[in-house]
């Protein structure tokens, strides 16, 4: 008899803990409570500012930010991580979440551009074509991460144009020394001087403001559309208000200050 009670009591405790954890996100009578935002690593600085502004306007709301590569966030969300909003560096990750019926509403958030971040001291690179220079220590975000996908798309585009000789993309990819887990990690490797160059977002470089890194533009004809999306995952008023704020003119101004372009797609 007494032995049977052990597992039962444990189950009861487990149930209490589970409900306690799950309920934290969506308690918002009026504008109170917590908004948990999962956001792409490249949005780190912009969303930190958005959150501060939002909390000032709504003192009852606490915005919790969780930054990582969009792909990591996607897997975490698919495994049931409790978030109210998901700001992704690509529509692909949002679509994956939506396929699992986790998205209530989604909107375009911002656009971005790709640039080459080159180490200031490195003499191996001065233009886009130099990415294929043998011996160049290149670092990309991993293929699974949006920034890595965009970078490879841009290389494939340049390859198909044929402007830089045969197998341009392959020759560039042969220079890749590391596939980093987020675009910020790739940039950090250049800042540290470990790598000669990385392909990152223009906004990452604006945020870095590091004398050790210089920007090399990627020609317009090789740019691929970089679209950020924000998705509402839980029907909470605070979360909805934050999404409205992020996509408002005020929010757009904050994003613009951090180098983001307004979203290209009109929906």
């Amino acid at each position: 008899m007494k032995r049977v009670n052990g597992p039962l009591a444990l189950l009861a405790i487990a149930a209490l803990v589970a409900t306690g954890c799950g309920g934290g996100g969506d308690e918002s009578g009026g504008l109170r409570g917590t908004v948990t935002v999962f956001a792409a690593a490249s949005l780190s600085d912009a969303f930190a500012e958005l959150a501060t502004d939002f909390e000032q306007q709504h003192p009852g709301v606490n915005v919790r930010l969780n930054f990582a590569g969009s792909a990591t966030l996607r897997t975490q969300l698919l495994e049931g991580a409790p978030a109210d909003l998901f700001a992704s560096a690509s529509p692909v990750e949002v679509a994956a979440i939506a396929a699992a019926d986790l998205v209530l509403e989604q909107r375009p958030l911002a656009a971005n551009e790709l640039v080459i971040a080159a180490e200031t001291r490195s003499e191996r690179i001065s233009a886009f074509a130099d990415l294929a220079t043998p011996g160049l220590r290149l670092v990309l975000a991993a293929e699974e991460v949006p920034a890595g996908r965009y970078a490879r798309d841009a290389l494939a585009l340049a390859d198909s144009e044929g402007a830089f000789g045969p197998n341009f993309a392959d020759r560039v990819l042969a220079n890749v020394r590391s596939n980093e887990t987020s675009v910020r990690a790739a940039l950090a490797k250049v800042e540290l001087g470990e790598a000669d160059a990385a392909i990152v977002y223009a906004t990452d470089l604006a945020a870095a403001q590091n004398a050790a890194v210089r920007e090399i533009a990627i020609p317009a004809q090789f740019q691929v559309p970089v679209e950020y999306r924000i998705a509402l995952l839980k029907d909470s008023e605070s979360a909805r208000t934050f999404m409205d704020f992020a996509t408002s003119t005020e929010g757009a101004a904050v994003l613009a200050r951090h180098g983001f372009d307004p979203p290209v797609v009109a929906t």
Partner: protein, 271 residues
């Protein structure tokens, strides 16, 4: 009746606590196994080229790490256990430092020393054109940095427990210092050395943070199993591939440790 209940209540409470504690450790493994078995693509992920490359790299780098730790760490541990000089505790504290340090800090620290703009890395790069980052050498260095202290710590404790009297007796009987060490000290401290070696190897096999920061992530070069698992977690295959690789690493780790513990007592007899 009520008296016996009162006496039994603490025991029941303790049993419940232990049960919950055991469950806490067993459930995650059960979860991995269940998910791996449920997913149809698990076997494909386990037998993929990425998994094979990562496993091979993990196994030989962690073994090399252990060999380096034993070769350099054994004399150091013996010296620390026998020598008495002021400041010995400071040295011991320094050796323990990587154990308490988060591996990411270890990675950053290694970069500041051996990176291309690091204290030693910069002259190495400029004078000899040698760079360590993004190479398998960097992987072993990261593993050695976080793993070796476990071996040195255990070996030092093992040596300290061997009474110096035994060695003196061996000396008076005509044994050289080296012979006394091999025939007397090693056999007596063997269990500690083996435990330290196992910990060092396991820590090296599981190294992620320092490797990611110091060595990067490239298949076949620096992508060890933990990094492959992290990359799999980010791929569109998501948890499937990550779970499959985790199961593979878990199985291999268990096998090696089991073999190690089977062989260890016999080695003791040989020595």
């Amino acid at each position: 009746m009520s008296g016996s209940l009162r006496r039994r209540a603490p025991a029941a409470g303790l049993a419940l606590l232990l049960f919950a504690f055991a469950l806490f450790f067993l459930l995650p493994f059960a979860g991995l196994l269940e998910r791996g078995l449920r997913d149809g693509d698990t076997w494909d992920a386990i037998t993929s080229g990425t998994a094979r490359d990562a496993l091979v790299l993990s196994l030989w780098t962690s073994t090399l790490t252990l060999a380096l730790a034993v070769v350099a760490g054994t004399p150091l541990a013996y010296w620390l256990a026998r020598a008495t000089f002021p400041g010995r505790q400071v040295i011991e504290g320094l050796i323990d430092l990587p154990i308490v340090l988060p591996p990411t800090i270890a990675g950053v620290a290694l970069l500041t020393a051996f990176g291309r703009r690091g204290l030693l890395g910069e002259p190495l790069d400029e004078w000899f054109g040698v760079t360590i980052g993004f190479s398998t050498v960097a992987v072993v260095m990261a593993q050695l940095f976080v793993g070796a202290p476990f071996y040195v710590r255990a070996a030092r404790a093992g040596f300290a427990e061997v009474d110096e009297q035994y060695e003196r007796v061996a000396h008076t009987l005509g044994a050289s210092r080296l012979r006394a060490f091999v025939r007397v000290v090693l056999p007596l401290s063997w269990p500690s050395l083996a435990a330290g070696a196992a910990l060092c190897w396991a820590r090296a096999l599981g190294e992620l943070g320092a490797t990611l920061i110091f060595a990067g992530n490239l298949r076949g070069e620096t992508q060890t199993m933990p990094l492959a698992i992290l990359s799999a977690f980010e791929s569109s295959a998501g948890l499937t591939a990550a779970v499959a690789l985790s199961l593979l690493l878990l199985a291999v780790g268990l096998l090696v440790l089991a073999a190690f513990w089977l062989v260890a007592p016999r080695l003791r007899g040989v020595m």
